[in-house]
Symmetry: C2
Subunit: 341 residues, 2 copies
DNA sequence: TCAAGTTTTGAAAGCGCTTTCATATGCGCC
DNA sequence: GGCGCATATGAAAGCGCTTTCAAAACTTGA
């Protein structure tokens, strides 16, 4: 059975025609009274609205969309729903867009490019008002699809030169550089970086590259880099042990995720290391937990919810003002300085 | 401008009729060749599929849905996207449903019942294949809407006697009871509970009630209950101080959230209390962090992702087997015993 | 070979709205 | 009071597909 099968037949709902009959007007008037009340006389508008309310009329958006050539749907594709960064972005987006009558169609691809393309294809066939996709790295097919899409397309989270249409994000490389620069400013000589260097997460890789680049540039040496297989606490603890073994006099470590950093802080406490006196620790993400560790974790904060808000507002603007242009905005990252570094 | 406005005119896409012309068949045959290939002769099917591929034809789902009377859309309403429990549920649901060609329409109401009703109304007007809503507590309007919905309706996360249609969840009260029972079994006499007793979160309240009920029943005394205004680390630390002040010989504390518990563990470490020797701590949620604290946190695990999987499978079953019945399933909670209690 | 199936195919009727276009209605003014 | 204009309303034509129904094309068995 396919999704559009008819086997669960719908008891017929109230249709516009019925409202029209009850209100004693034509369906056209009902449509106008409901969608653009200002074009209908006071008297009829009241009659129609009352009839609609009395019958419990809910317009069929499918029909409306077919006739209207565009749906109040915004398709959003993220790698994962459980990643709290994307969740924060989606949270802001839904809140803003829902208030304007749009609905979010959400798909997740788990970093699988083929799945991303399938979802993008499926979303396009809904004639959405806008399409939002995470990142700048897509299959040829996805790129073709998005380039040809008859609606605004936003690539979010990553910033670089030439988005397909609009780009709203920040530079992960710059986030890494910021950490490197901060360590240099603090005069830390022996530093290290912990992150998923080998995985398929290009964002994490960009951060570690930015860090290494800046350390090399400012301190004239290569930082020690340790790979983390996951972003969980235990992995941070393991990375700390590994780093101290390979470079016992390490003075500061930047982590590619707050959880890794917190794990390392737990481990450091176990080892009797004082933070930040013996070892400075810098996180990335600014999760809720960061403000509440002991000592509170200094961290680099990506603009997760700002991205959601900016994307939503850009879309609303593009849809409201037909001549509005695409944009390419870098929302930047901030270093939240607490006590751990 | 309204969402269905026409001001951003779509460059006309390839339509079924065009595929039909190129393949030299009728539109009806194209429709069949694409949606139910087994009803079309080998020869024509190949011709149609080739023509469709060559033209890059993507069916217009809006039109298909209008004609087919049902959309491959599943509407899901959750209180919050950033809550990792619901995120885990949604994650499983999308993964399973996307694989079968369904798309998720996701709405969040931030615990605002009126907003919930608005979203439910909006979702109904899409003629979804199924509707999923979090919890059992809705406005009259929402209840009416869901009862009349011409599709399967699942109320998830909470379990009780009479769901409107299908219910898939667990009992928060039972989760609280489980904690109380565990403490009694361990022979802890002076116990306490920390949770959002006063907030609008009925689930948290049910857990604290279950806990109190069981302690009263098994230990013959009322536990000390402390309110937590948020679910963050700092609040757990504050609650711990408050409890030890009011009841210095407290032997075990159950928390309504892992983060609160972790915060309390940090604070206990600062105060020089040993866990679990001096004080046993039990969390709720089984977040990733729980397995990695020091000592690892014992906690009660709600079936977050199991709910997602069960809901998705129930929906697929209901849609595939027209005579399938609604269900009411309690997925239960588990006590994950680690070292903190 | 022909009648009686059986399977494939196509024509056409919607699905429930929106929107255009034409008609009706009301208004101000000479 | 009648003319022209602006505004309010209705009729009707789709939007692009699915599905029913009937006709056409094949089978099969006698």
């Amino acid at each position: 059975m396919t999704p559009t099968d008819r086997s669960h037949p719908a008891p017929r709902r109230v249709r516009m025609e019925e409202v029209a009959r009850v209100a004693g007007v034509s369906p056209a008037t009902v449509s106008r009274a409901l969608k653009s009340p200002e074009t209908v006389s006071e008297r009829l508008r009241a009659r129609v609205q009352e009839a609609a309310a009395r019958l419990g009329y809910a317009p069929n958006r499918i029909a409306g969309s077919l006739a209207g050539a565009r749906t109040p749907l915004v398709g959003v594709i993220v790698p994962s729903l459980t990643n709290s960064f994307f969740a924060a972005t989606l949270d802001r987006m839904t809140t803003i867009l829902e208030a304007e009558g749009y609905q979010l169609l959400i798909g997740q691809h788990a970093y699988d490019a083929a799945r991303e393309e399938r979802i993008a294809t499926a979303f396009c066939s809904w004639n959405p008002s806008a399409l939002v996709i995470t990142g700048r790295d897509h299959t040829r097919g996805t790129v073709g699809l998005l380039s040809a899409a008859p609606c605004p397309v936003v690539e979010m989270w990553d910033h670089d030169d030439r988005p397909l249409d609009t780009g709203i994000g920040f530079s992960n490389r710059e986030a890494g550089r910021l950490a490197g620069r901060y360590f240099a400013e603090q005069g830390f000589d022996k530093v290290a970086y912990v992150g998923a260097i080998l995985g398929q997460d290009a964002r994490a890789r960009a951060r570690s590259q930015g860090f290494a680049e800046q350390v090399r540039h400012l301190a004239g040496q290569d930082p020690l880099i340790a790979d983390a297989k996951s972003r969980e606490l235990g992995e941070g603890a393991a990375a700390l042990r590994q780093i101290l073994q390979r470079q016992p006099d390490t003075r500061a470590i930047a982590f590619s995720g707050d959880m890794l950093a917190v794990g390392a802080m737990f481990e450091a406490a176990r080892m009797g290391l004082r933070i930040p006196q013996d070892l400075a620790i810098l996180g990335y993400g600014d999760l809720d937990i960061a403000a509440h560790t002991n000592p509170p974790l200094s961290t680099i904060r990506p603009p997760h919810d700002e991205i959601g808000a900016a994307v939503a507002r850009h879309i609303l603007h593009r849809l409201a003002v037909p001549e509005a242009q695409s944009e390419n905005v870098d929302l930047g990252v901030r270093l939240i300085r607490r006590l751990s570094a």
